[in-house]
Symmetry: C2
Subunit: 149 residues, 2 copies
DNA sequence: CCCACTAGACAACCAGGTTGACCATATTCT
DNA sequence: AGAATATGGTCAACCTGGTTGTCTAGTGGG
């Protein structure tokens, strides 16, 4: 029988691939998962590049590259930090918010299809089970999302 | 609430990190997940480098690099193909089989800890649920494991 | 007023893939 | 049989997405 981690990886990829395919059909920019995570993070709180790196679990330099791309593509812009002249807040543009909304819909479509395939209840169990495990392993301070991507 | 794919990724990483940490404590070679997948594959069937690449979902060149490493480290060796002078079978050495056995034990330890944390029944539901989803998406011919790693 | 610390940029590097070209052997077609 | 085509394996150049290390300018506690 397949080891559980293998199943996790394969399922993650299966869902991610479908997400990507459907996005490509619409003809959107080739955003990677990390970009999506950044959007979600920025929606929740004002953040600097350093904050983003921390959240993703990568160096600030890696985070800066990602932010640069998003900036060039118009999903995000930098504005001066009111109290710290070194720092810049990274904020979503309208284009960024629209993308996030679209992506969220797509994700919930996929999740719904998964529910249809294996049963809503099973899906719920998976969700709460995995969350409980993460809680068990990491306690309150969950680490960045780091790899996989 | 966290999207399911995020939970999958985080859980995969959490388990993988623990696996890696414990392996490092024993002082074993720095094998990556891909190597483990190769072992598991070789145990199941005789295979060439090309077969391995196919199974992993990477190019044969990438597979060749992996096989080279494993060869240098003594986990694997190449023997001539009986019917095709171009080809070579890649086979596990004793060291390779020992590693696999050790790793399998470690994985099942981790799985048991997961069961202890969230309940055996929940874990079973997760396992069968994910397997069912993959079945639903891919049908019989599951693709390579490709990324994540 | 110093001194330790931090945000961000720049550069060099690395790992783990990719594509493309090639040789030798296998296979298929006529 | 012989020619055309396909396949296993290797080599080499390149790409992507990270890393470390260094620097500047600004911050903030004693």
């Amino acid at each position: 029988m397949e080891p559980v981690p293998m199943l996790l990886a394969m399922t993650y990829r299966a869902m991610g691939d479908q997400f990507h395919d459907r996005l490509a059909q619409i003809g959107l920019e080739p955003l990677r998962p990390a970009h999506g995570y950044v959007f979600r993070f920025l929606k929740a709180k004002r953040a600097t590049t350093v904050d983003i790196g921390q959240h993703l679990g990568v160096t600030k330099q890696a985070a800066a590259k990602i932010v640069n791309e998003l900036d060039e593509w118009g999903y995000v812009l930098r504005e001066p930090h009111p109290a710290d002249k070194r720092a810049q807040y990274v904020t979503l543009t309208t284009k960024g918010r629209d993308y996030l909304k679209f992506a969220d819909n797509l994700w919930s479509d996929l999740e719904q299809e998964m529910a249809d395939a294996i049963g809503q209840q099973t899906l719920d169990t998976i969700r709460t089970g995995l969350a409980a495990y993460l809680q068990h392993v990491h306690g309150e301070d969950q680490p960045g999302l780091r790899p996989v991507w």
